[in-house]
Symmetry: C2
Amino acid sequence: MSVLYDRVALIGLGLIAGSMSLAMRRAGIAGEIVGTARSAETRAVAAEIGLVDRVTETAAEAVQGADLVVLAVPVGAMDAVAAEIAPNLKPGATVTDVGSVKRAVVDAVTPHIPEGVHFVPAHPLAGTEHSGPRSGFAELFDNRWCLLVPVEGADPKAVDRLRALWEAMGANVEEMDADHHDLVLAVTSHVPHLIAYTMVGVADDLRRVTDSEVIKYSAAGFRDFTRIAASDPTMWRDVFLTNRDATLDILGRFTEELFALQRAIRTGQGEMLFDYFTHTRAIRRGIIEAGQDTDAPDFGRAKKVQ
Amino acid sequence: MSVLYDRVALIGLGLIAGSMSLAMRRAGIAGEIVGTARSAETRAVAAEIGLVDRVTETAAEAVQGADLVVLAVPVGAMDAVAAEIAPNLKPGATVTDVGSVKRAVVDAVTPHIPEGVHFVPAHPLAGTEHSGPRSGFAELFDNRWCLLVPVEGADPKAVDRLRALWEAMGANVEEMDADHHDLVLAVTSHVPHLIAYTMVGVADDLRRVTDSEVIKYSAAGFRDFTRIAASDPTMWRDVFLTNRDATLDILGRFTEELFALQRAIRTGQGEMLFDYFTHTRAIRRGIIEAGQDTDAPDFGRAKKVQ
């Protein structure tokens, strides 16, 4: 494949940026990959393991001469980073991001983008519960979605090139507007994460059930929740603070529904529970058919099926 | 390994009973394995795939001459099954079960057990989201816990033999009293399942976010919830109806905690959220160290880590 961007600057060197660097190398679509991170330790690790071709001390330095600048920092840090790099952006360059919230990023970054530079927000729906410069891998985006959220008046050529980049890194690309993105993600990711964090917190608080028992006997269910609740705290704090309205909206619906099920349990309405659980089973089937997960019996964890 | 029970009767031929049959064969610890199920289709499939050595039409027939009888039916069916088999139980035999709730099973089954027959309730903490006679596999219990809940005055020899059986099937065995079991499982399994069912139900109800989008963009978080929410509806209806008090207790704590986090989001208390999420991360670490899950980056689903 031919080179899409002669120089790419990654601002932030965590799971997503690291995986992008490795995926871009795998595809041979970037000339030089420059990277930076706020933490000196992260920069040192990235340099040591050769995660990018060149590590710079500052974001302002990293973006010099870059054709593509990727903001891969927590959503709450986008404003400050955009302000820092703005004076150094190359005319004609594209700036993108990988934040899990889009309206807040659009609002924070757009005012800093100079005339002649293209801003194309993006969000790859991929990740693991790990973070940091050692957590990335080239296959992270394979067969995952990347949602592009072009702002009004975006240059179609800049959008197309970014789309080509994500496709070359293995992703399937779709476009969506920022507010709709934030609502969809509140349902499919943000509120589920908050609930998992909450449940793990509840377990930890219980004094009658000692910590060690909760851990020792963590079965399917809680075990999956702890995996989700091990995700990066800074990233998730920012997600909830910046996608507040959609999160609270979906949380309200969740609570309403939970109270209905709680009432069914209290009053012994077995038929209602059975119907509810039968219905949710069908949704799982849809996800497997959409190719976003496998049907292998995961609660048994990588055991061979007879 | 030597034979522990000359004849084992499995009442119910779903995921757990099927996996037990295959695990007992693997270990060579059972003479004949007899099985039955209420559904004629399940019996036919079990016979066709040779899941057990012999399939009988009724539970009463299956238990004749059996040294070990395993009640592997939904918790709500235990009472009726125990009543049906009681007259046919062999003197000196052991009856056990694999139900996810223990107080209700002890209360339902104990009155039916004849003098000279031992009842030793058990609960293997293992499963997948699949069910039915084709879902079992011999490795399901490997390195999983099986909790024995001996009733007062249980014969130590009968308990020891059942312990040996579970260990031979790959499980680690511990003893616990019924009420404590039900509370621990409410935290580690029952409430997490209810929450997952609820979240999937909420997503399905939303009209602004179409079904196909929720499915298409189901990221880590929701995708894991749908897996949990695909579990057997009959089994879970019975779990909630029979472990009602502990479930409602833990649900109350969950809601209280969720409201605190919701308030933090609404009022923008970033530090509180960050501290909470940092704390839950540590619990995950404990589970991995306890050997109950791996540290492989699961959200990336079986991708090779660099």
